[in-house]
């Protein structure tokens, strides 16, 4: 039922925005929208993987990625071999994420989700402060060798980096789907996502599972940071607060369903990109993720009433 609504709404929006435009132009914006959308989705996926297993919505996701990509840029400036700098980016992100997950998150384990989320905001600010202190505002560029090669899709030259971002977002969703479904750790993660207290009672090693989740999300955050730094802008504060549209994508999957996060992120990118075709709405294009996320939340929430205390509803 929701699928039908989604397809109908998407077709309506695409045909409304693309009315009277040549198919080639629409295709062009569609493809470029997918590239932006896959970045939103990547950020959202990293957050949802962590949220499901630990109950922490990590506002520091963007900051962690920013720290990683800045380190990679610095190493590149010092002439370090490319792949080593990329590995360093992921490593920095992994260490930051694990550090928070092991040292700070356990102290908040029994607090409500919104408090846990607010705490990660503190971590984000600390990282952002240190990173912007180390690398004073200055125009910088970070580019991967894959930027130079491109392929033509629907008449638009798409760099291999964009293809990697798009492929990775799908690959990660599929990979995690199988990881959760086929492995022991995946089973335990699903148990945690379902009910933390019960999982603890039946002897699931919560600390270990959470540590793994922090690790996975750290790696995804590092990779996302690398892609943001290359494709959007290499500026710590911008990358840090790209977390906000990523949250919008995560919200589309109700912080739970990775496939929906992916679809949500991609749809946001596409709609945002197609809005360029509308003379009226062109200027407010970046608003698309927020409007979509808010509508999706309200749509999922229709007909429910808040009466009894319990978990947050959505």
């Amino acid at each position: 039922m929701n699928w039908v609504v989604y397809v109908v709404v998407m077709i309506t929006i695409v045909s409304f925005l693309g009315w009277g435009k040549p198919g080639k132009i629409i295709g062009l914006f569609f493809v470029s929208g997918l590239a932006v959308g896959s970045l939103y989705a990547l950020g959202g996926i990293g957050m949802v993987v962590l949220y499901r297993a630990t109950g922490v919505l990590n506002f520091a996701n963007g900051a962690i990625g920013a720290a990683g990509v800045m380190v990679a840029w610095q190493l590149g400036q010092w002439g370090v071999w490319g792949p080593a700098t990329w590995a360093a980016c992921i490593l920095v992100a992994l260490v930051l994420s694990l550090g928070y997950g092991r040292l700070i998150a356990p102290r908040l384990a029994w607090r409500e989700p919104v408090v846990k989320a607010v705490a990660t905001l503190g971590f984000a600010l600390v990282i952002l402060g240190i990173v912007s202190f180390l690398w004073i505002d200055d125009p910088r560029r970070f580019s991967l060798p894959t930027d130079k090669t491109g392929v033509y899709i629907l008449g638009l030259r798409v760099t291999v980096t964009r293809l990697i971002a798009f492929g990775a977002s799908i690959g990660i969703v599929v990979g995690i789907y199988f990881y959760l479904g086929r492995t022991q750790i995946g089973l335990q993660m699903r148990a945690l996502a379902n009910d933390r207290d019960l999982s603890a009672l039946i002897g699931i090693p919560i600390l270990r599972i959470e540590t793994i989740a922090w690790g996975i999300s750290g790696v995804i955050a590092g990779f996302t940071g690398l892609m943001f730094g290359d494709l959007i802008r290499l500026e710590p504060s911008v990358i840090t607060f790209m977390v906000i549209p990523s949250i919008a994508a995560a919200v589309c999957g109700r912080l739970d369903n990775l496939a929906l996060v992916l679809i949500g992120g991609l749809s946001m990118g596409v709609i945002e990109s197609l809005l360029t075709l509308s003379p009226v709405l062109k200027g407010v294009r970046p608003i698309a993720p927020f409007v979509i996320a808010a509508l999706v939340l309200l749509w999922f929430q229709r007909g429910t009433r808040l009466t009894f205390d319990g978990k947050d509803q959505a």
Binding site: E112, A117, Q301, R302, F308
Partner: protein, 622 residues
């Protein structure tokens, strides 16, 4: 109560003195760069107050405050360049408009809470950021958006505050008024309603609180603070820039409100100082202002993990201890009380008091208007008729055509766990919709989609398995909250509360805070809540749960006296068969959603079916 309204707490006195100091001294000694910094600090103090009160009083996280400031600023600039209105008029107009924006933001809050509510407000902040970045702020150009390139037109400040120093004073006055508005709300019906909502929305509804109205009202107040702050910022700078109103700033403001301490005025001042003064200081010392982020972040982690009341909470604790050491703890309580009474007794403050009371009656009056129905006389002579009530949760039948007519003053509902007892109570109180059947009493069909709080106004009272007492209200306020929405005179309400507390024996603890009560005292307060304001039906869900034998005996004695006290009919769910047989004349027994027996308690308990289902005795083979 009237005196309490204007009672000045030590913390409040410190706040007023601080405002006075800021008003008299700071503008005359600060240099021009610092004048601007202090003005924007005062402005952000007001904005922080808006989010802090939502977080502290309702537990709701709003991440849109800076966006609402932008709205306030936009409207002020728009009005200024379009109609050339005096600044004060634009200020009030923008405050009122942002109230409406606050109400719009409240719409999702009616269906969402916690993290998801925070995320929706964050999405709204993201939306505002982009609108401001795209259309910018009016600076005297033509058209709706009023933007022209190049230098903008002049902006007129208030006539009485043209200079920077005078404008700082003006800002301090507005900010202080903002704090007073919030504090007045906290001390009256809205504050009590918010405390109940924060504790539990279900309990608030059954206490007759119109949760929708009060949540919306809170968002409106928070929006008002944001809008006023934005308008003041426009006045201070003369022009605004979209970059000031990023979603990230809203998030920062919220984080700092937690660092400062959302419960105290000092917390808002600390938050705004961290936000505005700290970066300026770092700059002056030749350090990178970005380092302030590290301090914010570390402060936030510290506050969230170890200091729930923030820096202000720690300062207040410390100064409280110091004060106690200097004056002696006992002398302090008495001293401040009498000071408060002195304020309340002079003529001017009586006029003020009446005026503010009238103003603050607005939500209550609205609630009456919505409520529509008139209060009826106390007590219930007619039976409570439960007719064929069926409840299905998906495929599970929780209640199957349950039928019972309760005629006696006190009736019991018993049954094994999962039998549907609480579900029946939830149907009667309006939390669960029955798929079939109806509940009538006194010519009213309770199940006719009457929302829970209106059933409360009508005269339905209930307690929950857990005692639902708001931690940050006193015993008296907890009970008073129950009658706030009823059209009774203030004196009458006070009288009812005093009588009910006397009945349950809590009169000596009327001023004790909810968080300091033990579970028996909480239960007694819960019972007192059920007795005020002309109850017709009172329902207790496992009142003796977790109570000792002696406590249960006292509860039983109280329940037996309820009918004589107010004429209401009482329904009791409990697993304690001794209690049920002592207090209930008739009893309904449920098992797996079916009625298996109903009648005189002694007969019902002797029924072999009941013994088999509930008391665990096998029926002898036939």
């Amino acid at each position: 109560m009237k005196n309490d309204l204007f009672h000045i707490t030590p913390s409040g006195r410190a706040g007023l003195l601080f405002a006075l100091f800021a008003f008299l001294v700071v503008p005359s000694v600060a240099g021009s760069q610092w004048l601007n910094i202090f003005t924007s600090t005062a402005i952000f103090t007001l904005a922080v107050a808006g989010v802090a009160f939502m977080y502290a009083r309702l537990g709701m996280v709003s991440l849109t405050q800076v966006g609402l400031m932008g709205v306030g600023g936009w409207i002020t600039l728009r009005l200024n360049h379009w109609l050339d209105l005096p600044f004060e008029v634009s200020l009030i107009a923008s405050g009122l408009t942002t109230v409406v924006f606050g109400w719009l933001l409240a719409l999702p809050a009616l269906r969402l809470r916690g993290l998801y509510l925070a995320l929706v407000t964050l999405m709204a902040a993201g939306g505002f950021e982009i609108v401001f970045a795209t259309f910018q702020f009016p600076n005297g150009g033509a058209g709706f958006w009023g933007v022209q390139t190049g230098t903008g037109e002049d902006f007129s400040r208030p006539v009485i505050a043209q200079s920077d120093a005078a404008y700082l004073r003006f800002t301090i006055v507005v900010a202080t008024l903002g704090f007073l508005i919030i504090e007045l709300h906290r001390r009256l019906a809205p504050g009590r309603a918010w405390a109940l909502i924060r504790r539990s929305e279900a309990a608030a509804m059954s206490a007759g609180v119109n949760v929708t109205l009060y949540k919306t009202w809170a968002f409106g107040i928070s929006g008002l603070m944001g809008g006023l702050a934005g308008a003041l910022l426009a006045g201070s700078l003369g022009l605004l820039d979209g970059g000031t109103f990023r979603a990230s700033e809203s998030v920062m403001i919220f984080a700092l409100a937690v660092v400062g301490g959302a419960n105290f005025w000092l917390g808002a001042v600390i938050a705004a100082s961290l936000f505005r003064i700290l970066p300026a200081l770092l700059n002056n010392w030749g350090l990178d202002a970005d380092l302030s982020f590290v301090i914010f972040g570390a402060g936030l982690l510290h506050a969230v993990i170890t200091a729930p009341d923030g820096i202000a909470g720690q300062v207040m604790d410390l100064s409280g201890k110091l004060f106690a050491r200097v004056t002696g703890a006992a002398g302090r309580e008495g001293g401040t009380r009498s000071a408060g009474d002195g304020v309340g007794s002079n003529a001017l403050s009586r006029v003020l008091s009446n005026f503010t009371l009238t103003l603050l009656q607005i939500p209550v009056q609205l609630s009456h208007a919505v409520m529509g129905s008139k209060m009826q006389a106390s007590g219930l002579d007619a039976p409570i008729e439960v007719r064929d009530v069926t409840v299905r949760f998906g495929g599970v039948v929780a209640l199957n055509k349950v039928d019972a007519t309760f005629t006696k003053p006190i009736s019991g509902i018993i049954g094994p766990n999962g039998a549907g007892k609480t579900t029946l109570m939830n149907v009667i109180s309006g939390f669960v919709m029955n798929t079939q059947g109806a509940v009538h009493a006194d010519g009213v069909t309770l199940t006719n989609l009457m929302p829970p709080h209106r059933r409360g106004h009508w005269g339905l009272r209930r307690s929950f398995q857990k005692e639902e007492i708001a931690d940050d209200l006193t015993v008296g306020e907890n009970v008073l909250a129950q009658v706030d929405a009823l059209p009774l005179s203030r004196g009458r309400k006070q009288q009812e509360v005093a009588r009910a507390l006397d009945f349950v024996g809590m009169t000596d603890r009327v001023g004790k805070a909810g968080k300091d009560l033990n579970s028996f005292e909480r239960r007694l307060t819960d019972i007192a809540k059920c007795l005020v304001g002309h109850p017709k039906i009172i329902m207790f869900d496992e009142p003796a749960g977790g109570m000792s034998v002696e406590e249960t005996a006292i509860l039983g004695g109280l329940i037996l006296k309820i009918h004589d006290y107010c004429g209401a009919k009482t329904l009791v769910i409990d697993h304690d068969v001794d209690l049920i047989s002592r207090v209930c004349e008739e009893t309904l027994v449920l098992d797996f959603g079916e009625r298996i027996a109903f009648g005189r308690t002694a007969d019902v308990l002797a029924d072999p079916k009941v013994r088999a289902a509930y008391l665990g005795i096998e029926e002898p083979a036939a």
